[in-house]
């Protein structure tokens, strides 16, 4: 009787379970025929020493204290060909989204029927080397004050309530490896350094990875994305759910593009989101945000501006998800509008607007294997410079397609191809290949 090799769930490997065949034949179900990648094994061992020693990944939530404390986590290792000359995927120095190694652990402690403490911490660094950084994604206390209501109030370091992708940006939630442009692509504006004229903005056209401005910080750092996907902000949220509608409002110190974690923003921002589920499988989300985003240390300088002395960030988002059978479709649009103070002619009196559109699709080809694709476009409005109206940054298009294969239920391997194009003669396009290993528990 041939011994079947292991390709499925790791739980099958143990213990030695023998399901007898008729007529005296036997089938061993757990041969250690699986020859996993050493890297995978190392990742599993690093993340889950207790279970790794037993060669088992847990298949149910890890709970303590009679189920009141739930712990989960994930890790991801990403590799890619070089984007170092074009910076399409860079969110900062040595922060290439396609080349990150990330670890995250989350814990939820139910302190009572209506009080829950939530903590999620993450660490990340470039897979190929460089400094690591750790940060809290969430650290808050959630209280449900009313006995007959779903109303919940959370205070502390809170999750952003804007947009759909924020809820699935880590681990297996992201179908591909890259991020939608709105959540990652660095535009040519900053919060800690601001332009004195409209021409200064236009001089930094298509230079979002390191724009320079004459007011504020003199050193070069990456510009702001429309929404920062890895930051956190102190503040509070109020949420409620009724039937097929849920809503959340957050007030945070720090905003969408420049969250409080960046450390240069002292302003407050309000964000809100409403989610509708009219039929099973369809989710429609509406998001909005408004607040200050310029570094608080520049407030005295901003007060001397001839116009726009109260710079503001305003954003709206619409997202739709529909799934049925083996298909999953998602679409998200974000419109962003920022005003900057005007100091000298040619005055930056126009708002800096941007529109991001992303659509993605997933199809499950066979058990454990899916194909996914995402296409996104980020376009920018025009401002009046000394040479006439011009787009304040270069439009960007991103196409990413790839496969995801689950080695076992908790371990996913992704391989993608990404093409980026910038409407600029300066470093206009790049084709990239990337792979990622994701382990979760």
């Amino acid at each position: 009787m041939p011994i079947p090799s292991y390709t499925g769930n790791i739980l099958e490997m143990l213990p030695p379970t023998r399901l007898a065949c008729a007529r005296g034949r036997s089938t061993w179900l757990h041969p250690f025929a699986w020859r996993g990648l050493p890297l995978l094994f190392a990742a599993v061992c690093a993340l889950m020493p207790g279970w790794a020693s037993a060669q088992v990944l847990p298949s149910h939530p890890i709970t303590f204290l009679g189920g009141r404390l739930t712990v989960s986590g994930d890790g991801a290792v990403s590799f890619s060909t070089s984007d170092h000359d074009t910076y399409f995927n860079y969110g900062g120095y040595q922060h290439d989204t396609l080349r990150l190694t990330r670890l995250g652990v989350a814990a939820t402690l139910r302190m009572g029927p209506r009080v829950t403490a939530v903590a999620e911490v993450r660490a990340e660094g470039e897979t190929t080397g460089g400094a690591w950084r750790g940060y809290p994604v969430s650290l808050f206390l959630r209280v449900r004050p009313l006995r007959a209501s779903s109303l919940a109030v959370a205070a502390g370091i809170v999750q952003p309530v804007f947009g759909a992708f924020m809820q699935r940006r880590y681990g297996t939630g992201n179908l591909l490896i890259g991020y939608p442009l709105a959540y990652q692509y660095t535009t040519a504006v900053r919060a800690d350094a601001i332009p004195a004229t409209a021409d200064e903005v236009l001089q930094n056209h298509a230079r979002g990875w390191e724009p320079y401005y004459s007011i504020g910080a003199g050193y070069g750092v990456a510009g702001l994305p429309l929404v920062n996907a890895t930051g956190w902000s102190p503040g509070f949220t109020v949420s409620a759910q009724r039937s097929n509608i849920s809503a959340a409002v957050a007030v945070t110190q720090g905003g969408l593009a420049a969250p409080g974690s960046v450390g240069w923003n002292g302003g407050w921002e309000g964000t809100g989101r409403v989610e509708l589920r009219p039929v099973v499988g369809l989710v429609v989300g509406l998001s909005g945000a408004r607040g200050s985003f310029v570094d608080g240390r520049l407030s005295s300088t901003v007060a001397t501006a001839v116009a726009n002395r109260d710079p503001r960030e305003t954003a709206f988002g619409v997202d739709v998800e529909y799934s049925w059978g083996y298909w999953l479709l998602r679409m998200e649009t974000i419109v962003s509008r920022r005003t900057y103070p005007a100091f000298r002619p040619p005055y930056l009196s126009d708002a800096l607007t941007a529109v991001a559109i992303d659509g993605e699709v997933r199809y499950t080809i066979r058990p454990g294997l899916y194909a996914a694709a995402r296409i996104g476009h980020l376009s920018f409005g025009t401002i009046d410079g000394s040479a006439g109206p011009a787009s304040w940054d270069a439009d960007v298009t991103r196409i990413e397609t790839g496969l995801g294969y689950s080695l076992i239920r908790n371990v996913l391997v992704k391989a993608v191809y990404q093409y980026d194009r910038r409407d600029s003669t300066f470093r206009p396009s790049v084709s990239l290949g990337a792979a990622q290993l994701v382990v979760r528990f």
Binding site: G8, A22, G24, R110, P367
Partner: protein
């Protein structure tokens, strides 16, 4: 007696003896019963969002499967079964099924949300896709083995389906009791299996027409 006649008589005697032997009644079948004690049963919890609160639902899993390792010759091959594994309150109900090879299991969705039942097990790989409340899809398990079942949307949902190509197995009840009937008498190795984390095998003799008792104590 002529040689030809002697040969004919011998042949006739052989046929008569063979026929008599074949017509002899088989020894009466026996039964096996007992109890499986799981010393530290799994307690699995997940949080359920209530209208105004959160509560942890804790489920203690006590059921195990008892099966024969070396199986007697069975004149009655196992017939396929039809079983159900519901998706109710984001839980597979029952958590464990034991069926014969060739059996079909229905997976009705009793919840108001999508579920996506799948398995990556070597024994049977399947993905039923997303389907809504009130709908059901089915899978036929044609090979013996262990099948781990999950939901792609709700990561805390999981279940076991054990597929046998014989009929000498039983799922214990919540108290750990089991019973297997219609076993040809003989000595066999019997195994108790629990959640893929505990296992114990023992030898037992099934008396003709009688019932043997066999208890297990499983420790993780």
């Amino acid at each position: 007696m002529q040689p030809l006649l002697r040969a004919a008589c011998a042949a006739a005697s052989l046929v008569t003896l063979t026929t008599l032997a074949a017509a002899a009644p088989a020894p009466p079948a026996g039964a096996l019963r007992g109890r499986v004690d799981v010393l530290h049963p799994l307690k699995v919890s997940h949080t359920v969002q209530g209208r105004s609160d959160e509560r942890a639902v804790t489920e203690t899993r006590r059921q195990s499967v008892v099966y024969f390792d070396d199986v007697p010759a069975d004149p009655n091959p196992p017939s396929p079964m039809r079983s159900r594994m519901h998706q109710t309150n984001e839980t597979f109900v029952p958590h464990m099924l034991a069926v014969t090879a060739g059996s079909t299991v229905d997976f009705p969705n009793d919840d108001r949300t999508y579920h996506n039942v799948f398995s990556l097990s070597k024994t049977k790989q399947f993905d039923l896709g997303r389907y809504a409340a009130g709908r059901s899809k089915s899978v036929t398990f044609d090979r013996p083995g262990i099948v781990r079942v999950f939901c792609d949307i709700h990561s805390h949902m999981n279940a076991f389906i054990l597929v046998f190509d014989h009929r000498f197995f039983a799922l214990t009840d919540q108290e750990g009791r089991y019973r297997i009937d219609q076993i040809p008498p003989g000595t066999y190795q019997v195994t108790a299996w629990y959640e893929g984390i505990a296992l114990q095998s023992q030898r037992v003799t099934i008396p003709a027409g009688g019932t043997a008792d066999l208890d297990f104590r499983l420790r993780q």
